[in-house]
């Protein structure tokens, strides 16, 4: 049994033209590092929060999301509490938003141990020092008495990681954990997360907009667009031969850091803008931005996720595209005037 399992999870909000999530299937096993990649509004954060039973208010839910066998859709308070206090933890983008600025670091780290687990103060403090050491902070005993504003963003994110580990969870959900940090700090945080994941055999789900970071850190990648998984594959395969036009488009949009001599080739952006919640599509949601879309095929009904080699791809044209990879290469002209409002 996988540690984290989404089975056809759909979340719909009243007044929106399309579901926020539409039939999400995703698994993370113990010891596995998995990325969920998508742009703003794709539903990746909603997906991550669902694993803690945090659903948008007023949402209509279908399907299941199970953590260590407990289904969180319609879970009772005790079930939710067990998952949140003992099985899964989340790390967010902005460490300052998740910590009380007028309480000390030590209070933050020991609160759940003392309240939920009934530990005595000394024991909880000793554990907090242990955790701060594990995330590589230089002077753990002193940090316990410091306030959040005394630490830099990178140091505070390490405190948040320590906080996420207090309950010894088996599943770590990381929602853009390094997006607010400098690149070299990002490397440090990813190094710490990688080490802890290996040492403790954690299942780790990394939510990110950065497909390069996902490729650098994860075994397997899910790509999400407008509330659906459009492609999933082992990292190497996804990078070498993206099969969904959106995945290929994301890779073509990132300026390469190293390239042959001479001026860099022109980027091939995906035309238009990501789809908002007030836009809907009768077929594949990517049709409006897709250079390979075929009228009468792609705009009829949403394509199912189907096996293509080691990948699962939701695209009616996946076979045509992978048989002729040249068609995915940048072409000279890209339609420029297909901008749509995304709100």
């Amino acid at each position: 049994m996988a540690l984290l399992e989404y089975e056809a999870l759909s979340i719909a909000l009243p007044g929106m033209a399309r579901p926020v999530l539409d039939g999400i299937d995703l698994t993370v096993s113990a010891g596995e590092v998995v990325a969920l990649v998508g742009e703003s509004g794709s539903g990746k954060s909603v997906t991550a929060r669902a694993a803690l039973g945090l659903f948008p208010a007023g949402a209509r839910l279908e399907g299941q999301v199970r953590v260590d066998g407990t289904d969180l859709v319609g879970a009772e308070a005790t079930g939710l509490r067990t998952v949140r206090t003992a099985k899964a933890s989340m790390i967010f983008q902005d460490p300052r938003a998740g910590i009380n600025p007028v309480r000390r670091i030590g209070d933050f780290l020991t609160e759940s141990l003392r309240v939920s687990h009934g530990w005595a103060k000394d024991r909880a403090n000793a554990r907090a020092v242990e955790l701060l050491t594990a995330v590589g902070l230089p002077d753990p005993a002193r940090h316990l008495n410091q306030y959040p504003h005394e630490l830099s963003g990178g140091m505070l994110q390490r405190v948040m990681i320590a906080g996420a580990l207090t309950a010894e969870p088996r599943l770590l959900l990381c929602d853009e954990p390094t997006t607010a940090l400098d690149v070299s700090t990002q490397a440090e945080i990813m190094a710490i997360l990688g080490r802890l994941q290996r040492e403790r055999d954690l299942g780790l789900l990394l939510i990110t907009h950065d497909i390069e970071l996902a490729a650098a850190a994860c075994d397997r990648i899910y790509v999400m667009y407008a509330g659906r998984i459009v492609e999933t594959a082992p990292t190497a395969e996804l990078f070498a031969a993206p099969r969904h036009p959106y995945t290929a488009g994301l890779l073509g949009s990132s300026p390469p850091l190293s390239a042959p001599d001479g001026p860099p080739a022109r980027l091939t952006p995906i035309p238009g803008a990501p789809m908002g919640l007030l836009d809907s599509a009768s077929g594949c949601s990517f049709t409006a931005r897709c250079r390979f879309a075929r009228p009468g095929v792609c705009d009829q009904s949403p394509p199912p996720l189907e096996q293509h080699g080691t990948a699962l791809v939701a695209c009616y044209r996946a076979d045509d595209l992978t048989d002729a990879p040249a068609t995915l290469a940048p072409t000279a002209t890209v339609p420029n005037s297909t901008n749509r409002e995304d709100s």
Partner: protein
């Protein structure tokens, strides 16, 4: 240093310090560079490196403690009084910030914003302004529908294009872009990057591109300057800098960019070795 006719921007010996109580913090120290017509300089660094302070000094939002800024051979005035001086300052340097929401007036349509800039800069004929507004918006890939829209009705990428069109309406000598593509989704960011390379090719404007993202700098700029705690570590042609980084800090920045086969453990080791070097009372950046 002499400035030939094609040098648009010349900065020499720029220094800026901030004081909190008795402590003095040097944000920018002895910074010199120049940008020629049609040239693009990338200023690269992490938080606390002084890159945003530099951008703010270039547009006159901060006053340097030492050094000078010449635009087309004329010093950037320390104080601006009166309409003529303000307009001249605006013609010298324009800026596009990271968040276009904060720089566009929420109550005024994109077209009217640009129309207002043109009127302020002396284009009196209504029909001429309308034609020029249309032309500027077309240059950044926006059409009639976007012209009549309020900023909140546009997507992030469209708003950033509108901010660029507004800056170009002034026909400045130099355009400063302070993390102008950092907040955009990658697919949309690519659209704006292509637009910037078109603008460089078509207008001969000088670009100062402030960014933490080396890959983006490589795409937009021909020269790059690496700042670390206010000091210039390296200033070279960008292709050269990225293939043969000379300074250990540049090497660290390059190694930090995620890619397959990335080794974050060795990066954090190298970062700790580097860190104590020029630490002179810098307050907590994001390190």
């Amino acid at each position: 240093m002499t400035s030939d006719a094609r040098t648009l921007l010349q900065v020499s010996g720029l220094r800026k310090t901030y004081r909190t109580g008795k402590a003095e913090f040097v944000a920018v120290d002895d910074l010199s560079f120049s940008v020629r017509a049609g040239g693009a300089l990338g200023i690269v660094g992490e938080s606390g490196s002084g890159k945003t302070t530099t951008a703010r000094m270039l547009i006159g939002l901060e006053r340097p403690d030492a050094g000078r800024i010449l635009v087309q051979g004329e010093p950037l005035a320390a104080t601006v009084r009166g309409k003529a001086a303000r307009l001249a300052r605006a013609k010298a340097v324009q800026i596009v910030f990271q968040d276009p929401y904060l720089s566009l007036d929420a109550r005024i349509s994109i077209g009217a914003t640009i129309d207002g800039v043109l009127r302020l800069h002396g284009l009196t004929d209504r029909a001429d302004r309308a034609a020029r507004t249309k032309e500027l918006l077309a240059q950044v890939g926006l059409g009639e529908r976007e012209a009549t829209a309020l900023p909140r009705k546009l997507s992030g990428g469209q708003r950033q294009r509108a901010a660029i069109a507004r800056a170009l309406a002034v026909e400045p000598a130099v355009l400063v872009l302070d993390e102008a593509v950092s907040a955009l989704d990658v697919s949309v960011q690519a659209q704006v990057l292509n637009l910037l390379s078109d603008i460089r090719r078509d207008t001969g404007i000088g670009l100062v591109f402030v960014s933490h993202d080396l890959a983006v700098v490589r795409y937009v700029c021909d020269e790059a300057l690496v700042l670390y705690r206010g000091r210039t570590m390296e200033h070279r042609p960008v292709a050269d800098l990225l293939t043969h980084p000379g300074h250990p800090y540049t090497q660290l920045l390059l190694a930090s960019v995620p890619r397959p086969g990335w080794d974050p453990d060795s990066i954090s080791r190298r970062r700790r070795e580097l860190d104590p070097l020029p630490a002179a009372g810098a307050p907590g950046g994001r390190g």
